[in-house]
Symmetry: D3
Subunit: 315 residues, 6 copies
């Protein structure tokens, strides 16, 4: 098996299996038609072009299909691109499965489930614990398959749960340092804050925004759901309002999509550690592909900055 | 009866009945205590100070109490202020009632009710009509007593309904000009867009923000309520989502409290005519108190501008 | 006759007459030369490329020429593009005229003229009426041929007058709701506010910015013209200054080109309904080309938003 | 004669003649009335309060009156304030004149006149020279009496001419360094750029904004005047448009009141040296009152900065 | 001993010892002089006014003096104020010491020293460890006495070390979650990032900005010092540059005083946890003084927000 | 010899020597490989493409190599591009030297050296003079070879010294007008303000940002160097701090890279004339290539404006 598409340099020849994650018929600026493919294995993605594609090629090479490809890695607009020489659908006898080509969280689903259970077990406020348990049960499958975002950070299978668990670990540490922080409220907020993405996005594997997602957004969707859950569970009291507020304000300010900024301590902390974890993830992903002594590509959500990897990281 | 507090000039002596709308014990920068009152009649409000107030005065002169006051109108920090010489509670034999001292919409409640009924009658989409009717019924009393805002514009009894009717009239004209506009959706959005204020504010007479109002805001409150109403009425279909979106986006952008900007034509129009009507109202209120050939005071929500009243307005 | 260029889908074959609205010799990134044409009929525009164009083609296929074209509709950078197979100049015997290919206001010039006359007739302030009449007479031809903008909204023959009349209708409604609004000043402001565009733009058919337009702008040009007209007509009094102010401030703020923000009530209203009408127009133009259940392309002057066309628009 | 009001320290006793530049009846937060005066001599201004002022005091102590005052210099809200013990109108036998109490440019009017003549003499483009000469003649008196601004910088008699001459000197140096700069256009622009202030402000001595000034602004006023002058002088050609553009754009951007940013090289230079000269003036005024080793008060138009006066300025 | 000044309500009478932290002669808006004192004990601060203060009072009641005070707690401009009835200097026989009246970190200096030693011990990169040790030794006394800021957060004795240790604990947790993070660089950056404040501020007890602090800022001061330390220790290599960069960029962006934004992963993390810890501290300080069911005062560095303390915090 | 590459029009044929300033292997959107060259002579630069380049071509045609090229000037994305027909390395017998192809300051190095000496001679403050002399000596070679920027302005050999001398001339004029300005401090600040670029950039001929330059920036680098120089020269006193501040603040505000805005008068002036000179330079460069009656290309650092060259510039 090859070393993984992420580790090929420009000029090298690739010859192995890949999964098609998107396929579009296109036309070059000189009028020549081609099939633009996005191909991936577990290590990463690459753009590819199949020149002179025929009608039947469009039927064969669609999103979700496993293919055997060979070609040269070239450079196009500062990004690597695979110029396809040969391509064919994977056959049964090749013995490949889609799930081998999909990126996963660097930890197991079981561990994530255990972690979340453990944190819920630490909670003592009955209202918050019941609300949290309701949602973990309701969305049990999605929580452990959805990514945390369509791109940028934690954009892999069970990325959502991975993001939640990392935030919970930071929250526990903060609670250790500052005992006045209400860990129950903070844990509950962390666990549910992004669950609205399950309705905002179409599906866990190649998620796209739904119409509801674009018109209402995951924040408003989730606030509604908390109200619904509270009614179902006959929970009253400020915990319901507080939890809605944590979800509502977790983007931090109006320009970023929160109709109210954080007005409760735990809401502010939730916003800060959400940002902290997603930023570390994005930097790690880019730095991993960067040699010591050089800069990463620009990372858009980090104000388009490039990050330097020091030489002393080498040893 | 006097000419109304709004029409007194600095230097004149006032002697008539007024309603206390707020009362606070305070202390001057030189250490002297006083009772700071906000007094009103149907024409407007004035700040007043009762120097050397005693313990029992605090009990007598509270929010909601009618009083007979005399004193001189002076100027303090560019605003008129009444320096109280005599003050006493109104007696039964004085024959005054609180409702005589409260500002009302310049049109009658009956007319507003008729208007809203008429516009609802024009609607043809059953889902939207039923949702709208649900809320007009549910909040019938509040809709015709609440102000549209705690201050700035339509801040008088039934100001909310008055604002809604004005917007509906503009919407009808726009519908006449542009037949492609969906009047049903636009009417429904106008009627419900600010109903969340009924939970955001404490009461119609001297409204203050509730805790729920500060933490969730009238927009999120109303989105929840639409979801609840749709469930109750067993309405499904995009009308529910579209109506939620109109409410959600009616402040126009994130900085102004909308988690999503308008993404439906009627949502954009709703936002525009909401702004148009509130702005005209604010200018009218200030210009009414201004002599031709001079400028109004600064109007804060209008980017702190002063407006000029031309001399040819005189005739 | 074909169904109109705006209604062709990618993959279809086009074969009909079109008008060339711009023509540029260009070179592809691979060095191959082509003629980039912008072609239109009454329903809309399409980009087209003539590959391998010769010297004489440049002479034949110029801006303003009617052509018969056939070719396939393909997709290039998210926009439809016509790949030309055959092209020839239209012959006399084809019986086509340029004016058949130019978009016009959806109402007749006569109706627009009548409307404007009627609104001027409603005015009672002699100074404002005379100033307005002066300009309608002076620019009678241009007012009913110029577009209101080079692109984005009302960018068709007599778009300027159409925009003015729509705004006048909204102004009349506002005047009905709020009698304190000075309709004379508002009508006068609406009629003249954009007349400076006649000097800012080169011509009504394929308008480009003039040097004077770029260096001074239509706002400053028109303020000068009002001063000139007032001298000619020996009009003095605040109406002249007020009308200048309405023109000066109609973009609303400094960042948008107004040296002063609106400081007169009618100036603020003028700005608001200018924005309202242009925004509705832009949304309508894009939504017309969009199927229910999907989003429009991004509309740049509307903060790059895409608008959703609900499914219940279908019936 | 005293050392000048600007040089008194808190705690010192003042006893000398001063000019009243504004007088307002006011009321303290404890209800006690006083007369708030702004008093000045050639060195600067001070706020003063006359406690327990009677009706007749309001008649005696008005803007423009010379008075003999004694009292103590105290500190109020971080600014010195004169607490008046005795005050009387100056008598004829006191032998004081208003002009002795008004700040003047640090250079003579004659020198300013000579300088401007000399610079005009250097000009070679006939159109620009004639336009400039027209305005210098038209506004000869005002140019040499008006301040350049109501406050902040060059806010003294003939401050306008002083500002113009300083800018001309910088322009000459720039022309020496960069021969491609069009000195004629730059000189003409500098001389006329602020002349609109003569109509924007009420009078040279205690200037206030006129209504026209607030609604149109000195920029639009002056553009009109250039058009008028060009007609009078029968000048055509791009010089007229270019000069208008220099005036129009001299505030640099929309937010600062220019409907167009500089689009001609000399317009950009004019904007830059206008800013440079006004900023140096403001810093000088504040630093003059500051001891080495300390910071000036905050200067508002300089982004509220305080400036440090180094110790080595001492020698 | 009393319950501590922070726990008094408006209307209560205070009678106990306090420390004067600032004293200024002032004058009320009605002209009456008073001595404005800021008084404190270990629980907090209160403004106080001594009306009718004499010359000798100014000598007796200065910054740093312990006094016995009695008086009533009143309300002035939304803040509590002590109206002094009696005041005298503390006598030897009263047995009070200044250090009993000064706020301290909620943890001991010894514990902070141990913690910092322990974290340094964890470091493995020799260059970074030596640089860090150099500064901890150099500034040993100041590190454990200076506050982290003059106000807002960690503004108490040894607040600087407390802030550092909290950040180190968060850094260790992050390092546990993300092994690719360079803990040595992050620890070193955390320990030295604010040491420049030692030169930026005058002294640990009542710190004011030095001239050097205002003109250069603690960031530039510290970058210089790292260069100096590296020369002294003969350390070369990218660690020096990286550490400078962490200090340089720790305010996150230009507007907040960093000449470069974070361009190294650990610099970004340092900035984020600096913000996280200071924000939690500020919220805690305000919430501590707030009753469940109500909002804190506005916290300026947190975008002027007020925070709600939920009722369920009560138990 | 040809007329210089800057003076060729699209459509003309070029055949002369040029210097390669950058060379990159690339691939067109249709997959065809080419060598992208940037070629220059003393008059300017042009992009060029060598289609079908072979392996050996990459070795022959590298940065720094002189070549003889022929080809046609075409237009690509609004910029001229040379389509190479023939290309060969220059031979010894061609008699060309690299330095003939590099742009230089329009004045001689000797004159620049004399000027700087003369200005230093005018200084009277010993500390500032010694510090300045130290750096002029230390960086004597680089000061007279480095550009002032990698692009935009003064981006030619000895552009740094040219920029400095122009600023010094403006400073002398300002000093003549305003005697209170400290010319010593201003001269010293001007001379050293950009010397940090020598370490920020790799080399004078084809400068690129160094890692240190990207992570620390020329401002922080230079502040360190002033500290170092002061230690070497045993200079103490506020001049050192003031000079650091001038360097630190010369970008004017945080967003532009200065950790402190100017807080000393001469720092503000330095910032203003730095901006003035660089802006004039950029406009001149673009206007030089523009015909009277037309606009320049957009100049990015000047807020993307295009500048108009008036027709009366023609004579």
């Amino acid at each position: 098996m090859s070393k993984g598409i992420a580790h090929y340099q420009v000029g090298e020849t690739f010859d192995d299996f890949l999964l098609i994650t998107s396929a579009n018929k296109s036309i070059a600026s000189n009028g020549k038609p081609f099939l633009a493919l996005l191909l991936r294995d577990r290590t990463g993605e690459i753009d590819a072009r199949l020149w002179g594609a025929k009608k039947e090629d469009e039927t064969l090479f669609k999103k979700g299909v496993l293919v055997k490809v060979s070609g040269e890695i070239s450079q196009f607009r500062n990004k690597p691109q695979l110029k396809i020489q040969h391509i064919r659908q994977a056959l049964e006898e090749d013995g490949r499965e889609v799930k081998q080509f999909v990126e996963e969280a660097p930890v197991s689903v079981e561990w994530l489930e255990d972690q979340i259970k453990e944190f819920m077990f630490e909670m003592t406020n009955a209202n918050l614990q019941r609300l949290t348990r309701y949602f973990v049960k309701e969305y049990n499958e999605e929580l452990f398959t959805y990514p945390a975002a369509t791109r940028n950070h934690h954009n892999y299978v069970s990325g959502l749960a991975h993001h939640v668990v990392t935030m919970l670990r930071l929250a526990r540490e903060i609670g250790g340092i500052y005992p006045e922080v209400n860990k129950d409220l903070l844990y509950a907020g962390i666990i549910v804050h992004d669950l609205g993405k399950i309705r905002e996005l179409s599906d866990p594997d190649s998620p796209e925004y739904t119409i509801e997602g674009r018109l209402l957004g995951h924040i408003s969707i989730m606030v509604e759901e908390i109200q619904h859950a509270a009614s179902e569970l006959h929970i009253e009291g400020e915990e319901v309002m507080a939890l809605k507020h944590l979800v509502l304000s977790h983007h931090g300010k109006g320009e970023w999509g929160s109709p109210k900024p954080p007005y409760i301590r735990e809401a502010e902390i939730l916003h800060q550690i959400d940002m902290l974890d997603s930023r570390i993830q994005m930097m790690n992903t880019s730095l991993q592909k960067t040699k010591p002594g050089s800069f990463t590509e620009r990372i858009y959500p980090l104000e388009q900055r490039s990050f330097y990897k020091p030489l002393f990281e080498m040893e």
